[in-house]
Symmetry: C2
Subunit: 478 residues, 2 copies
């Protein structure tokens, strides 16, 4: 038997007239002659031509949709339409049968909702094949970008005793026997008896620990799972998702924005370069889906066009104050088409406002900066105006907030004052404050929700379709 070759390698070469072995799954079997074989290395199938009379009839019958096979044969130029190469099978072995009738993946179009229910098999479809190869490439590009810049990848803890960041509701982690909860002398549950000797949760962010790393390595990033125990059943929220959080010593807000923009463009550029076929497939899928919509709801740009547009244009950078002015004077605000009318400075922006700015007004990604201190986290650096903080949110068309970041307050006294006024426990975070006591330095960072990035680049519309096994309220299947 000749050496096994992946189908991607065969199809991406012009070479013909050589012997090879391929292994994969039958996608279709046409005219008792043409097998479309897929091995997951690419969405494109290798056409394998078999001859019924050369085969054992019992074996031949087992060539069904979904079956795993191994084929050895000659790679030759194809006379048929749709492919340059094909394999003429010399020998074929059935590795695993598939009852095509019972097989949940069927040849006709199946809804994304249905495929979500069989997430253990949906990787075998063209759509999810493309989505998860793309997800892989984006993840690799993240690591390559930061590695090339000399950032240290820091694994911040998943289980945490700190709940100080206040980024959201948390999941408890415990080994206590719920039927026999230990009690202390006051009758309260005694978390000293719990595994870690205290009450612990799943992390909502690695930022605070990331800052500890930045104050030693200069530049660090995290890329790991984070959690929100929020009862949000939307197409944009997951209870478990992956986040990337770079943190940089000696960066101010502008450096932070520059890095975030460069980073996003790098990973999108990487995908355009390395996953062209997957993106072309997903672009077609999106175009087909949009045909079902009324004209005015359709996107102005195709998927690839949209990605190239982001790559080739500067993100718009405006302050929160400027955004409020634009929104106040906007048509939907004046005509009371917004659900939340923008009236005064200081109000938090709603998703409809962000979408207006990005999709209608600027028609490109927007970085909003210098938000009112009152609506932002305690660790953000106060501007000299006393009212605003050096925050930045990056808003993307169709996605909303994809990045949230800020320059951090590096001054010990100002930080403690702010923590106290916001009732953040100063004692409990003494380790965090130590960075401001010993060689503090200006620094900044941001967080990017990885699934939102994959959503944007893939053109998918539900976040549950861009993570292998989504965790959402009442759902932890597989």
């Amino acid at each position: 038997m000749s050496q096994r070759v992946k189908i991607k390698a065969i199809l991406s070469s012009e070479k013909t007239n050589y012997q090879a072995t391929v292994k994969g799954w039958v996608r279709t079997f046409r005219n008792n002659q043409f097998i479309a074989l897929n091995d997951g290395s690419t969405n494109n199938n290798l056409q394998v031509v078999v001859s019924e009379q050369d085969m054992d009839p019992a074996e031949f019958k087992r060539i069904t949709r979904g079956a795993a096979i191994s084929v050895t044969g000659e790679i030759i130029p194809s006379l048929g339409k749709g492919q340059k190469l094909e394999m003429k099978a010399a020998s074929l072995e059935i590795l695993g049968d598939c009852d095509a009738e019972a097989y949940p993946i069927q040849p006709q179009k199946q809804s994304l909702e249905f495929l979500r229910e069989i997430a253990h098999l949906r990787f075998r479809t063209n759509t999810f094949g493309a989505v998860f190869r793309l997800r892989h490439s984006l993840a690799f590009a993240v690591h390559q970008f930061f590695n090339e810049k000399g950032f240290v990848y820091l694994h911040t803890p998943i289980i945490t005793a700190s709940d100080a960041e206040g980024a959201g509701e948390m999941f408890r982690v415990t080994t206590l026997d719920l039927e026999k909860l230990p009690r202390n002398i006051d009758g309260d549950i005694d978390f000293k008896e719990d595994f870690f000797g205290r009450s612990t949760n799943l992390t909502v962010s690695g930022q605070l620990e990331g800052e500890l790393g930045a104050m030693a390595f200069g530049d660090i990033y995290t890329f790991g799972p984070t959690f929100r125990a929020e009862n949000s059943n939307t197409a944009r929220h997951l209870a478990e998702f992956w986040m990337i959080e770079p943190e940089m010593a000696f960066y101010d807000l502008k450096d932070n924005m520059d890095l975030a923009e460069e980073f996003i463009k790098y990973v999108i550029g990487y995908a355009l370069q390395h996953n062209r076929e997957d993106l072309e497939f997903l672009a077609q899928r999106l175009a087909d889906e949009e045909k079902q919509k009324p004209q005015q709801e359709r996107s102005e740009m195709g998927l690839i066009e949209k990605l190239e547009f982001v790559l080739n244009n500067q993100f718009e950078r405006i302050t929160y104050t400027e955004a409020i002015d634009i929104l106040k004077n906007s048509k939907p605000n004046k005509n009371k088409k917004f659900q939340y009318i923008v009236e005064e400075w200081g109000t938090d922006l709603q998703s409809e406002h962000e979408r207006y700015l990005v999709e209608k007004h600027f028609k490109k990604p927007v970085i909003l900066t210098d938000y009112p201190a009152a609506i932002k986290s305690f660790y953000m650096k106060r501007n000299d105006d006393g009212k605003t903080v050096r925050a930045m949110d990056i808003l993307f068309p169709g996605i909303g907030e994809i990045v949230g970041g800020s320059q951090r307050e590096e001054n010990y006294d100002k930080l403690v004052e702010r923590m106290e006024s916001m009732h953040v426990p100063v004692e409990e975070l003494s380790w965090y404050l130590d960075t401001r006591r010993f060689g503090t330095a200006p620094h900044a960072g941001f967080g990017l929700g990885f699934e939102r990035l994959v959503l944007f680049v893939s053109g998918m519309t539900n976040i549950r379709d861009v993570i292998p096994f989504p965790r959402t309220p009442k759902n932890a299947e597989f």
Copy 2:
């Protein structure tokens, strides 16, 4: 002000006589003249020469160990010993003060145990600087290895409703109010009311989900946190650690061993190439530590020598049965020096036995294969002898098991039979069994504990020193 340059870039170039700005932390300040400045990009410091009479006296006093500073000056050839280059400071700004007396990081040698207690600051020492830059490089090498081979990085779920793998004790994840646990009609805790509508835990392995991916993409890998709620207070165990789990369709046990060996050699080779300075520092640290030991307990090889030895020698591959024969006839077994005397085939190997094989008998990494079925997991493929399974464990000197893997049982009937005999819930894992119902194929995979790899490559001896913020029984600090 000239552009900020990282110290690693300055020191790794021969270039002199140019203006630059550096930012970092003062490691030492000698003779009121020589600052050793570190910015985390390398363990090596840049010597910055300052002149007291050119500076404001108040500012000058603030140049203390641990302070963050920004310096602009000329990079010139150094006349002093120990460095080729130095910076002649033209202007110096204090960014953050550090009270050198109060600073927990002191210039004299501090114990690893003490530094573990101040894990938020230990990154600022030479030892932990080197360890965590090395950890970064190993992590990047992992991604690069698999990316180059066309593997898909699959993010398997962290929160899981499945507890079927039985790899160890699990942590419960819940949002139930422990003071008001909901009860069903039978009086049991009603997990239908919990966040996910069922009882959930933190994952112990992504393997089963990884197999789902392999049956579509061919080759996948995971790299994420896994958890064990075991009360193991040893230098080898963590409650939260990172694991790499590749899973490959169409691989048999030999392919699996070949990949694992190639993989380990690749990442070690990457570190030797990219982290030479860090490794040299750690080698010296280890050599100094070993000097404290009696002669016969010292390693035969230095750290770098040991890594090169692993790189340049084939791992020994023997079956469990062969290993039992070697152990039975070994001196420590005959002289009853083992705590657990090896008497009969079928017994599980203890750490002392593994160490004997690796450190005394073969003196190199060993791959043990074909273990008795009774001591291995349900999903491992049975050999034709009916007694053994196609398992492999890779044993490393000083570390013990670094990899555990196997060829998987791809036959539906055999797998179900085995699950039933081992009381693994067949119903609950129907999604897993679907891979064997629809186009099953031979496949294999393994898991590598990332911290054990970092431990081996860094020459550190306690696993708590190679993860930023270790989680162990009664400890979830930071």
